[in-house]
Symmetry: C2
Subunit: 360 residues, 2 copies
């Protein structure tokens, strides 16, 4: 494996559970009944553990939408034509897609990353666009492996670079943290994520394949067949994630794996969106069992395989709004709640400072 | 019944379901797969129906925390002493309580209303404080009715005034709406809300009484006994809500009834918080069956009776974060999601304007 990727993985530490007691003490002295903020208190403690800081503070919120195309699209598995990936990248850059509205609403900093879109954006000059293009879409995995192993490593490195660039380009105080949300764009990527999910969780294909953007019965069957065939066609070794990615794809999913690994390496909370992003989390958790301690499930999407993934990773989703759009929309909304969970310990009075009586 | 209250109730119209088709058409042309924003699309359509506007827009978000004390507190039913109600009112005014942090986080305009707190705030001069005091706490309903019928009507009128004052003090364009979130503060108010809930839903007392701010076994039994006794002590007529309020209380719950009625009368979406506020919604829905069309359940709290209430009203909670603080904290977070649901139809591109291909 590439030495940089190996280095990142080897330097992932376990989160610091020892700070949780201090954070709990702080929470219990705020002017509210004990545990009355429920999941927000659990979230705050998790951020504390991830950042090794009992008094965590969020200074910036980043959202990365990773885009890539998939050769399997030619098997008629999606309700939308492949050019929609490119069209949506332009829509993101023009600030007119759902995630643009969501990101603005929560005060997040949004970036669109081309990792493997079948379209040329080399002329695009935009503050929100990051060009990390490796190729113009993957191969149809039913004919050939989605990409080479070199490309798979390169795509993971892209994700690592994205986080390292954020950390070098944006200043943060020692006691502050950034939150990182990840989202996806790529026609046919639910087929790819289904294959990854069935492979890693061992759950049967029919239980992880869903309707994606709303496919009809014919395309739904095509999806199931494509996933079954790819799992039969190749030999897979769960200890060789690079090989899995090279066979199934995709470029953007590999980059998400890199982002997740780098967040864990640099002690940043990372907020997963839906089915695609969580398939990347499955891959990343095969590379290091400590990864899952850094993950938040932003929401549970209506894609049935997402529940399978979250149960496998042991993650409780923050939101359940029956969404299934991708683009980081679910992660983005949850990120605002995670930020709030940290604000309460900085902005609320304690029983003592407010002169409020404690419980009897 | 007081003629003003009667007038408000008689002027509550049904929401305009006919606009939903137009809103659906708008939603379906945005650059996203059909229905992919799930509950957000349902929420947007509900705001459209409430405001009779297929293209709803939220201009301001108001949060009212209504405070009152309850004579039943002397029966040892709460984990906190009664003076905490007054202390928390000061904490709200000093902007140091949970709801202050939440309201600031979502950009909401917060007001604290004293309707019946056992404490004197007549010297308080603060932009966020509204003095509508009717009395210094209710009577212990096991000894005497909580208040007179005149006071019950006066408290409902307070709530109506609050909404009428907002509508006269804050400008909004014809095509804009305000969102109204309601929260509570009052030691022992879960006992009062439990009695209201058992009475109106007919569900047995043990299933609606919960741990509130975290009572021990002794106080939990005291709560159950208090609720059972009050339901036996008086004769109740579900057609006489004023009488129910006068017997059980409380001042702040009556004011919430007024706010809810006025929101329905003036076509404003109203976002319920937890168990206390939803008990007011039960009362309001006895006064007009159309009221429930204007209600959003901000979240489902960990108080077990809240689920009973929401099922009775047929409301699906927006959030489920295991919270149980009150103060409008759950309603406040949900209000931000409701606002976002309306932003999408104004800020997203359509397939046509963005040049994105539609589904095959």
């Amino acid at each position: 494996m590439n030495s940089k990727i190996k280095d990142i993985i080897n330097n992932i530490e376990s989160v610091d559970y020892s700070v949780i007691e201090k954070t709990q003490y702080i929470l219990d002295n705020l002017t509210k009944p004990k545990d009355s903020l429920g999941d927000l208190e659990e979230i705050c403690k998790k951020v504390a553990a991830i950042t090794h800081n009992p008094f965590p503070k969020v200074s910036k919120k980043f959202i990365f939408v990773l885009a890539g195309d998939h050769g399997i699209a030619e098997e008629n598995v999606s309700a939308y034509p492949q050019e929609v990936t490119s069209q949506m990248v332009l829509n993101f850059i023009n600030a007119k897609a759902a995630i643009n509205v969501f990101a603005k609403h929560i005060g997040g900093i949004l970036f669109i990353v081309d990792v493997g879109v079948k379209g040329d954006f080399s002329n695009i000059s935009s503050d929100v666009f990051i060009n990390k293009k490796i190729n113009y879409g993957t191969n149809n995995f039913l004919k050939n492996p989605a990409m080479s192993k070199e490309e798979a490593e390169k795509a993971i490195l892209c994700g690592i670079e994205i986080i390292e660039e954020v950390l070098s380009n944006y200043y943060k105080e020692e006691n502050e943290t950034f939150l990182i949300a990840i989202g996806d764009m790529g026609i046919a990527n639910t087929t790819v994520a289904s294959a990854i999910t069935a492979l890693i969780t061992g759950v049967e294909v029919e239980k992880v394949v869903g309707r994606g953007t709303g496919v009809d019965e014919v395309r739904f069957k095509n999806k199931i067949n494509a996933v079954k065939k790819v799992l039969q066609k190749y030999d897979f070794d769960l200890n060789d994630v690079i090989d899995i990615i090279s066979k199934i794809g995709g470029y953007e999913i590999a980059a998400m794996v890199g982002i997740i690994l780098a967040c864990a390496r640099y002690k940043l909370p990372v907020i997963l969106d839906g089915f695609i992003v969580t398939s990347a989390a499955l891959l990343a958790s095969c590379l290091s069992c400590k990864v899952r301690e850094y993950l938040f499930a932003g929401h549970i999407s209506k894609e049935p395989g997402h529940k399978v993934q979250l149960e496998f990773l042991g993650l409780k989703p923050i939101l359940d709004l029956n969404m299934g759009l991708g683009e980081a929309t679910g992660a983005c909304l949850a990120m605002s709640i995670i930020e709030l969970s940290c604000k309460i310990i900085h902005e609320m009075a304690t029983f003592e400072t407010a002169g409020v009586s404690k419980s009897l």
